[in-house]
């Protein structure tokens, strides 16, 4: 007995340790496939992109060849960011085309994000709340219908939208059927109109480039102030409508799942306290959905900043560069202009922009939660 008690614990400890080690090994083994995929398809490419962004690689010469590229330090970044400045000799250096193009892309992408993210979040929330009502018949059908665009190929949807939005297409003829004053000759050229919507709006109030004065000609990062306040072009707006429509479904499903997690007792309590439908929505539903809203907005921000395929299919950056987006510039620099180093630098800048915006939004949501 005494012998057994002396031996047993010792034996147990060794088996426990062995078991733990074994479990650890098994755990890592289970994780290995995911870790390898993570390493090969994420960590290494990110490292390579950062490295290449410091070189002048053209993207064509085999990358492992000697002399395929040379190290240029931060030249690519200064090409993109450093604008109107004086050089060492004291001479004024104007913004380069690369820099202008980057800031045109940044401007377009920002307008795109500002337009799409709030719209899709609000519309998705409204749709989710409606679909969450018990009185609604055929909820399953509507859920599927609204979610459908999200799982359809974006290229296919883009092409269908192109047909709908051509000058004599479905959209224009429908508007014409509704408003008889809208005739053939004033059809909006949805897919090929470089005018900014804010410019058009300002024009309605008699504000134009000539009437605002000289301040509008001041250049910030290669673009005049007047150009900065153009708003998205008509064509960009068409792409914004398209993308809002396709992503709403995903966002709606996320909101729906969150809505179903809100216990019914909370609503009952509110109803007993005499809250009306709007008050319940505003004071119960929206605050309880805050973590989900953060998730949806973050997802939207990241997705919107990366807008590429719709631009590639519908407008190829045109008309008049008004649908250049940062992700599209990455493609253009890398594959059209044989400057892969510059493309890598553009991609890194895009990553930084998204990262900063996400952090910013995180702090805002946190602060509001504390109030």
């Amino acid at each position: 007995m005494s012998e057994a008690t002396r031996v047993m614990p010792k034996k147990r400890i060794t088996t426990m340790a062995a078991k733990k080690r074994q479990e650890a090994i098994a755990g890592y083994l289970f994780m290995t496939p995911a870790l390898i995929i993570f390493l090969v398809f994420l960590i290494i490419p990110i490292g390579a992109a950062i490295y290449l962004s410091l070189t002048d690689w053209n993207g064509i010469t085999p990358v492992f060849d000697k002399g395929a590229f040379s190290f240029v330090g931060l030249d690519n970044y200064s090409d993109l960011l450093r604008g109107y400045h004086t050089d060492d000799a004291g001479e004024i250096v104007k913004a380069t085309t690369r820099q202008k193009d980057f800031f045109i892309a940044l401007k377009n992408t920002t307008y795109y994000v500002l337009g799409v993210v709030p719209t899709q979040t609000i519309l998705a929330l409204i749709l989710a709340v409606i679909l969450n009502q018990r009185w609604l018949k055929a909820r399953g059908f509507f859920r599927t219908a609204f979610y459908f665009p999200s799982i359809t190929s974006s290229v296919v949807i883009s092409i269908i939208f192109m047909w709908m939005f051509t000058r004599g297409g479905l959209v224009n003829t429908t508007i014409q059927a509704l408003f008889s004053g809208y005739d053939n000759n004033q059809f909006v050229n949805w897919l090929d109109d470089p005018r900014g919507v804010l410019h058009i709006l300002l024009e309605q109030f008699g504000v134009s480039r000539t009437s605002v004065g000289d301040w509008a000609s001041n250049r910030v990062f290669g673009l005049t102030l007047w150009e900065w306040i153009s708003g998205p072009s008509i064509t960009m707006s068409t792409i914004m409508i398209l993308n809002t429509w396709t992503t709403i479904g995903t966002m709606m499903v996320i909101f729906l799942a969150a809505l179903q997690n809100i216990p019914g007792s909370v609503y009952e309590a509110a109803a007993i306290d005499g809250a009306n439908a709007w008050q319940i929505f505003r004071r119960i539903t929206v605050p309880l959905l805050r973590p989900t809203t953060f998730f949806v907005v973050t997802l939207g921000l990241i997705g919107c900043f990366q807008i590429f395929d719709q631009v590639y299919v519908i407008s190829s950056g045109g008309p008049a560069k008004t649908t250049y987006t940062i992700a599209y510039m990455v493609y253009l620099n890398g594959f059209d202009r044989s400057a892969m180093g510059l493309a890598a630098a553009t991609a890194i800048l895009l990553f930084i922009i998204i990262f900063v915006f996400t952090l910013l939004q995180r702090t805002i949501v946190k602060e509001r939660a504390n109030i």
């Binding site: 053209n58 010469t61 380069t96 000058r167 050229n189 470089p194």
Partner: protein, 413 residues
Amino acid sequence: MRKVHLLTLLVVLALVISGAGAALARQEVTLTLMGWSSSTAENDALMAQVEAFMAANPGIKVNVNLVPEYDTTIQAAFAAGDPPNVFYVDSSKLPDWAEAGVLASGEGKIENLEEHYESLLEAFTYNGTLYCPPKDFSIMALQYNKDMFDAAGLEYPTPDWTWDDLRAAAEKLTGTDAEGRTVLGLVTPPNFERWLPFLYQAGGSVLNEGWTEVTLDSDEAREALEFYVGMVRDGIAGPPSAVDAGWGGEAFGQGRVAMAMEGNWVIKYLLDQFPDLNWGVTELPKHPSGGQATMVFTVCYGVAADNNHPDESWKLVNFLTGAEGSKMVAEQGFGVIPPAKSAAETWLQAIGEEYGAGFLAGAPYAHKWQFPVGFGEVFDTFNSGLQLAFEGQALPEDVIADTAAVAEEVLAR
């Protein structure tokens, strides 16, 4: 006796090994040919050419790989150091690829040089080195809708037409069709390469001979762009989107424009999609001073610099672009014109004299579509300015100045 046996054995062995070696070598060589996918008929014709080559060269097997998104696919193959042996090279991409060192030099490798048009060989010469023989080419010409000309009581265009004739006709042909939709005299795509013929006709140029200086900022360029934009501002011409079309050929086929300036790729498209259309082709109009010019868009078969079978690759290229290979393509009568001069006549027969002659006539005086590495930024600047100019939001002279400035920046890089 034993010695003799050994000797025979050795001889037999040697024979067997060499025979097997030869047989192995015959089987061994496999070439990859990469290109982009065109119409089914064109793909089939390429396959037929390749079959004929393989039948004539039993030791060589050719894998044909026609891919969508060709530019990105092949660039990835180059970058990974695993290019196909033979591949399509668009004349506009040649400087980039030659500069990157992925193209094998064609000097001394290309046969039948005298078979090819001078202007085409020039399009595939970069820094004094000829890289590859042309695969086919397309030339811009003027297409006109005969019914519309008849209805307006106008004479059909001739090669002697000048800009003034073009403008006058476009003015008369602009109107509305039976359904009340706008019909424009001429379709003017908002692209640099569509405007270039006008620049060259006016006697202007983009760069000097050696590509060392930008010569775009000139009176000739301003005159050419003012003419091009002027027709749009006056409502007698417009981009394809103004008449609900994706490109000029579609606008022309649908009868929404009376004239278009497309390349010979439009022939097959119009005959297939709009068989009832009554149309003709002639050379592009001249500048009033007599200046004549058009554009040639051409593709060649390049051979990879990093290549384990260079000799077999050139053999294939020379077969595909030679008289025999060209004739096989010519007989099919596609939109594109085969490279060898001898095949041009066959092509004309196959496609029809009335449609083909107007395009082919431009071959001797056509300018190549090729600019230095990085000129994409220049095209984009010009196209963007041109679109604004069409809308009346930019002046042609500013577009020229902006484009010239960007070109100088790119050249200085």
